[in-house]
Symmetry: C3
Subunit: 309 residues, 3 copies
C-alpha cells in the first residue's frame, strides 16, 4: 500500500458507521479489505471471526508473541424520546455538528443541538425512530502535513494495524469492539490468545491527545501511564527498544484516560501492555487532527517492536 | 398458578429479607417454592445450588439456548456506629420510612431519619447491634390495576421467572445475588452456563423506570440501552420477535442505569443480553408501583422469546 | 522472629521502593527474606513467582483451605511534564512532604508542593526524568506503644503474613500487587488458587482507618463491610470464631473503601472474603500510625482463624 493509497483507505475507514455495540459494518469492511489485500502480505494470517466473536476480528500470524489491539468502534449518539439524544462514549458536543444514520424511514443527516443545561437534541425535518444510532458526518481532509476528520480515533489505529499486517511474520492483530463505551469485548479475546497461543504482551494501537507535553510533529507517543500503569520493568524494555530504533517518539504521562489495556490488566491473565499511538487534537470531535509524521512514526515503531518483543 | 395466587406469591416474595450479600433467606424461600411447585411444571429442571454457589440458584430446563437472570437481592441499610446507617445499594431515603431487621436482642421495627447533610440514622427504642442489616418494612397493596410495595424491584422479576418456569421446555433460569450493590455474583454463573451448556444469550428479568418515554399500562419495556449497550444486531432480532408476538411492549432508551447485564458484557464469554421488564415509579422506595398489565405482558413476552431465541 | 526483630523488619519493609505497577524491588526483598527465614518455619511452602506472575508472590503451605492476601504496593507519584506530578493511588498531599526516587541522573530527594488548584509539583535542584516514580521518604519511628511511618499500609499487612507464615501448616499467602491503583493483579491469582487448590476463602491482610467507631488500642478491626459486602453467612462464622478466640477485636462498618477483596468478589470464582486489619490514622500520609497492641492482635487473630476456617 503506497502512502497515497493509505490515506484513501483512511478516508474509507472514517466513513464506516460503527458506534460502540453496533460495529457489524466495520467488521464486514475489514473482512472484505483483508480478503482483497492479504495475498500481498508476507504471511497469510489465520482469520478468527464469526458470531461467537460478535464483531471482533482476530488475525494470527506465524508464531505470535505479542498482540496489537486496535479498537474499531467510535463514539456517537442514540435517539431517545422526542428529539432527545443520549451519548455513546464521550463525544465532544457542540451545536451545529452534523450527524448521520438511518432508520426505518430512510437515511438521516441532521444537526446536533445542546441546550444550556447540557442536554442533547437532534434537529431534523422529521421524527427519528427511537433507538436509532447516529455518528458524526464524515468530512475528511488531507494536506501534506496532516489529516483531519472525525474518528481518526481510532481509524488510524486500525490503519496502523493493517499496515503492520503487510510485513508481520509473527504476531496477533485484534480488531476490538466497544472500547469507547466501557469495554466488555476484550476479556474474551484475552482469554483466547493467552490460552491458545500463550500471548501475554500487548501493544495498544490507539490515538492519544496533544497536551502540554505531547506535541504534533514530534513522533509517536509512547504512554508511560494514563489512568492505568503498565508494569514498569516491561515498560523499560519497550523504552530501550524505542530508543535503539532511532524512530521519532515522545513520552506521555497522564493521570486519566484509559484504553483496551484496562481490560487486559483486569483480566485473569498476566498481560503486559503499552499504549503507543500518534497524538491528536480536537479529541472526539469532527475535527480530530493528526500529523502524518507522527502516524508514520507509529507504523515504523510497531513494525520494529513486533520484531523485537 | 392462577393470577390471584400469583400476586399472593408476590406478596410473600416482597416480605423476604434479602439485602445484597445477605440473601440466604431468599435462597431458602426459592428452593422451598420450587420443591413444592415443580411437579406441576412441564419440564423438571436440574437445580444447581449449594455453598459453592453462595446464595445463587440456577435451574436448567431441557437443552438451553437462553438464560433468564432475575436478581433476588434488595437495597437496604447497615447499622454503623451509634445510630448511624450506611446504605446497601441506592435506596430512596426519606425520614419516616419503616425499616425492619433482627439482631442479638430480637426483632427490630424502626424509623429511618435523614438529616440536612444527607446522613442516615435509625430511630428506635434501643441500640441496634453494629453491622445489623435492615430493609424496608413490607406494606403490600394490590388493586385491579396495579401492585405497590417495596421491592417490586426485583421480586416481580423473580416472579416472572417462576411463572415462565411453569411452561419452559428449554432454557436456564438464574436467581442471582448482589445486583443492587455492585454485583460480583454473575461472573461465576456466566462461566458455568457458557462452558457447560454453550449458552450465551441472556434476558434480564428486572424492573425499570417510568420516564417521559416509558409509561404505565403500555406493556413491558424492552430496553434498547441503558449505561450498557446490547449488541445491535442481536437487539434487532429481539425487536423483530417482539413485534411478531403481538404482545404489548414499549421501547426504552436510557444513558444510565445498569443490571446483571453489565457483568455478562464484561465476562470472558460472548454473551448477548437484553433487559426486558415492566416499568415502575417510586423506584427503590417503599412505594414501588407497577401496573399488572405491564407485568403480565412481561410474562407473555418471556414465554414467547424463550421459545424463539 | 522476636518482637524487637519484627519491628526492625517492618522498618526495612517501609523503606522498600514499590509504588503500584513498580513492585519488582519488593518482590526481590520478599524472595530474599523467605529464602533466609523459611528454614525456621514449621512448614516449608511451595513458592510461586516469576515473570508469568509479574511481581506477585504466592506461598502454598500444606493443604490450603484459606488464602491471606497482603498487597505489597504503595501509593506514590509519577513525574509528568515540567515539574508536575501525577498521583499513584490516593496519597495524602501536603506541601513539604519529602519524596524520593531515582532517574537516569541519580538519586532524588525532593519536596512535594501543591498549589491552590490542587495541582502537584516537585521542588528539586534539577529536572527529573519524565515518568520517574517517587514515593514518600521513609521516616520510621517506634515507641513502646506504637509505630509510625509512611507505608504502614500495607507493610504491616505484609509483616503480618510473614509472621503467620512461621507457624502456618495449611494455607496460602499471596503477596499481591497494584492494590492501591485500581487493582488488576488479583484475578490471575484467584483463578489459580481456586482451580489448583479449590481455595475460595480469603482473609485480606491490610490496614484500615481509625474512625468514630474504630479506635487505637482496642484490637484488630474485623470489617463487616466497606464498599464491598462480605457474604453475611460466612461473616457470621468468622465473628463466632473471633469471639471464641478471646483475642481483642473491634467491628468496623463503612460505606466506602475497598481492597483486594473487590477483585475476589468480581472474579469468576465463589470467593468468600473478610478484611481483617489493624487501624491507623493519618492514612496514606508519611505519618501513618498504628498501635502495637492492635497489630499484635492482628497476628494472633490470623493465626487462630487460619487453623479454624
Amino acid at each position: 500500500m503506497h502512502f497515497c493509497l493509505m490515506y484513501q483507505t483512511l478516508k474509507d475507514l472514517c466513513e464506516v458507521f460503527a458506534p460502540s455495540g453496533d460495529e457489524s459494518r466495520m467488521k464486514d469492511f475489514l473482512l472484505d479489505y483483508i480478503s482483497k489485500n492479504q495475498s500481498e502480505w508476507v504471511v497469510q494470517p489465520e482469520i478468527i471471526a464469526g458470531d461467537e466473536w460478535h464483531d471482533n476480528v482476530i488475525l494470527v500470524f506465524g508464531e505470535p508473541r505479542t498482540a496489537i489491539f486496535a479498537h474499531i468502534d467510535s463514539i456517537g449518539f442514540t435517539v431517545r424520546y422526542e428529539n432527545q439524544l443520549v451519548p455513546i462514549g464521550g463525544p465532544d458536543v457542540q451545536s451545529g455538528y452534523f450527524l448521520r444514520g438511518e432508520d426505518s424511514k430512510g437515511e438521516i443527516l441532521c444537526r446536533l443541538e445542546m441546550n444550556k443545561e447540557g442536554n442533547l437534541f437532534y434537529h431534523f425535518g422529521r421524527a427519528i425512530d427511537r433507538g436509532t444510532n447516529l455518528v458524526f458526518e464524515s468530512n475528511f481532509r488531507e494536506t501534506d502535513e496532516y489529516v483531519q476528520s472525525c474518528y481518526l480515533d481510532n481509524r488510524l489505529g486500525v490503519l496502523n494495524a493493517l499496515k503492520v499486517a503487510e510485513t508481520l511474520e509473527n504476531g496477533i492483530i485484534v480488531f476490538s469492539t466497544r472500547e469507547e463505551h466501557g469495554g466488555g469485548a476484550v476479556p474474551q479475546v484475552a482469554k483466547f490468545i493467552y490460552e491458545k497461543y500463550g500471548v501475554r504482551q500487548a501493544l495498544i494501537s490507539d490515538i492519544t491527545w496533544v497536551t502540554d507535553g505531547v506535541h504534533h510533529g514530534k513522533g509517536v507517543a509512547i504512554s508511560m501511564r494514563d489512568r492505568g500503569l503498565p508494569r514498569r520493568t516491561w515498560l523499560n524494555r519497550i523504552l530501550k527498544y524505542a530508543t535503539d530504533s532511532g524512530i521519532a517518539y515522545q513520552l506521555e504521562i497522564e493521570g486519566s484516560g484509559s484504553s483496551d489495556a484496562r481490560e487486559l490488566q483486569e483480566s485473569d491473565y498476566p498481560f503486559d501492555w503499552c499504549f503507543i499511538g500518534a497524538p491528536e487534537d480536537h479529541v472526539h470531535s469532527p475535527e480530530e487532527k493528526v500529523f502524518k509524521f507522527d502516524f508514520e512514526s507509529m507504523i515504523n515503531m510497531y513494525q520494529y517492536l513486533m520484531k523485537k518483543l
